[in-house]
């Protein structure tokens, strides 16, 4: 498995590197070899060879630095996404994959345009613990995390939300949606980081990546009692 961590030195807010750790560890625990490739601006990378691509969020300055670099890789990334590349983009990375970001002053910053969604700056930051419900292979799964964003994202008709908000604000605090999904691209505002205490979601991403290579996607079960206990603490607190 080739895991590509895009801009780990620049987009590294809120412990998001934990998502890469979770993906890599859960592969290794099942005997799948994993190679993590940190990719910084200017580094060469062939997205066709990548099995899982992670894009986190950063502060404004860092995000501007990487936007220029990512723009150059746009076409290759789009081709890989159409080929079924599994992507997880969080917060700033999520916004960047969309069509544009409109600042409070009305300035429009174009995104990569890979996904049919846009973001508008809001006056009030949405900060707090979140519970969402999403569907994995037909089963409802509750996922916990922490959001911290001022951007309000709205989805176009070509993408579906990742899940439905049970507690928290989600995409925009209005329509009850959280995150986005299109092909094998998963986007979310949830830090925490998202994957480690939501093992069902990690395993789903791993099996999608295996299936893309035509490999058997049945994963050996792992002992997830610590992960589930950590999620349970928050579910009990937030759902009462």
């Amino acid at each position: 498995m080739k895991v590509c961590h895009l801009y780990p030195e620049l987009l590294n807010l809120y412990g998001d590197r934990g998502n890469v750790m979770a993906f890599a560890r859960r592969c290794r625990w099942r005997g799948l070899g994993v190679e993590v490739l940190p990719v910084n601006p200017g580094d060469p990378v062939d997205f066709r060879e990548v099995d899982f691509l992670f894009l986190g969020g950063g502060s404004d300055r860092e995000q501007n630095l990487i936007a220029r670099d990512l723009e150059k890789r746009r076409d290759l990334l789009q081709a890989a996404v159409e080929d079924g590349l599994v992507v997880l983009a969080i917060c700033g990375g999520y916004q960047l994959l969309g069509r544009y970001y409109r600042t409070l002053e009305g300035r429009v910053i174009p995104g990569l345009g890979l996904l049919d969604l846009y973001t508008e700056a809001g006056r009030k930051r949405m900060i707090g613990n979140v519970v969402i419900e999403l569907e994995i292979e037909g089963e409802p799964v509750r996922v916990v995390g922490f959001e911290n964003h001022a951007g309000r994202t709205f989805l176009g008709p070509q993408v579906s939300p990742l899940g439905r908000v049970l507690v928290g604000c989600g995409n925009n605090g209005e329509d009850g949606t959280e995150g986005a999904r299109c092909r094998n691209v998963f986007c979310s505002y949830l830090h925490g980081p998202l994957l480690p205490k939501n093992p069902r979601l990690v395993d789903y991403l791993i099996s999608l990546a295996l299936a893309r290579r035509g490999l058997p996607a049945d994963l050996a079960p792992l002992d997830d009692s610590l992960e589930n206990a950590a999620a349970e603490v928050m579910l009990r607190r937030l759902l009462k």
Partner: protein
Amino acid sequence: MVFRLRLITAIFVARAVMWLVRLLGRGRGSSLPGMVALRICPGILAHLARQARRGVVMVTGTNGKTTTNNMVARIAGEAGYRVVVNAEGANMITGITTAFLRKASLWGRVDCDYALLEVDEATFPRVTRQVRPDLVVVTNFFRDQLDRYGELDTTVSLIREALEKLPGTGLVLNADDPLVASLAAAAGGEVLYYGLGEHRRVTSSSSAAREGRFCPRCGQELAYAYYQYSQLGNYRCPGCGFSRPPAGVEGTEVLPEERRTTCRLRSPAGDYELVIPVPGLYNLYNGLAAFTAGLVLGVEPRVITRALAGYTPATGRMERFRYREKPVLLNLVKNPTGFNEGLGTLLSLPGPVDVLIAINDNDADGRDISWLWDVDFEVLEEEHRHVNLLVCTGQRGAEMAVRLKYAGVPLEKIVVEEMSRAVERVLNGPGKTACLLATYTALWPVERILSGYARRENRVESLPSVS
């Protein structure tokens, strides 16, 4: 006249609150009296602080505020000055007001030479609007409790803008932190830098969780000759030439030991040997900051070094206990940089070590605990033989356990327990030493349970002689 009436009422009511808090034994009452007094008489802080005869010193920055401020207080005490000090880390405007109220007479008179105040970064602009500092010490800027402060850049700008409104205020700045050093021109007063020179422990590569490595002036990535830890080191901007300023007070020949840290010290007042009776490079930085502040206050260097050698840490700042024959260390953790340093200290203790990690997510801890994933717990995978047991507790203990699992710590060494059971377990574990790490609001309950079993041991006499 109306002001006097409000003032006296405020002091009277605050006294009653202090007395009630003590009677009910609830909390330490380090901020409630101030909160009440400010409600009754909003001008009370400015009025009380003005009475400091020789001036007001403020310490701000991310890590080391409490320790540095307590060290400065010890220096001033050793020099014979009377001081007002917020020694318990109550560093918001209410806690600072409480510190003055404790020393105020019923008529609102404060008899002190210096007010020594540790001030929370986000509160700094608000406090300095009411109290004008004569000297400001800035320790460092790291990422901390992001859901409260926003991003690091915002914090630095907050302090910069507040300093710009204080022309003539003197500054003591950490030369090794580019974010701190960039504040030099903000106040326009005299600036004295402290820092560490090159020594055996410096590295040419950087650890994770660095954020301040872009030039604070022009935004380019800084080039480093070496790092002390995090973004602290010898830096230069290839773009605009901004670089580490020469440190007037500089530590060299650093000798980290299990129980203390020493170095040679070069200063405008001569060369000295500095002994800080607490472990950790970051405590040496706190000592250098306090030494420099002491010089600015006009204290004799010999008096300063003597005061620092006798420093005893505040609750949870590398506090030492002993349980039966087992040495126990208690330390506050609140951000990745501090936690990484804490892990470094843990691994330098005689092993195997029984470890407790208590994580709460109340407002004062930061409600977002994702920063735990920016801490390099992976060192515990490589060094797991040095650790006997890792007991996770607190409101988010379960999640702490997940973090350790994904760091590669063997599962049989990870335990999640309720707090009193957790403390008992590490004390009675088979390890040679115990190390307890707790976030802010978990620190007090852990300390209370711990002091029920173990003997506090921070007396300087208990230190081994120089070897």
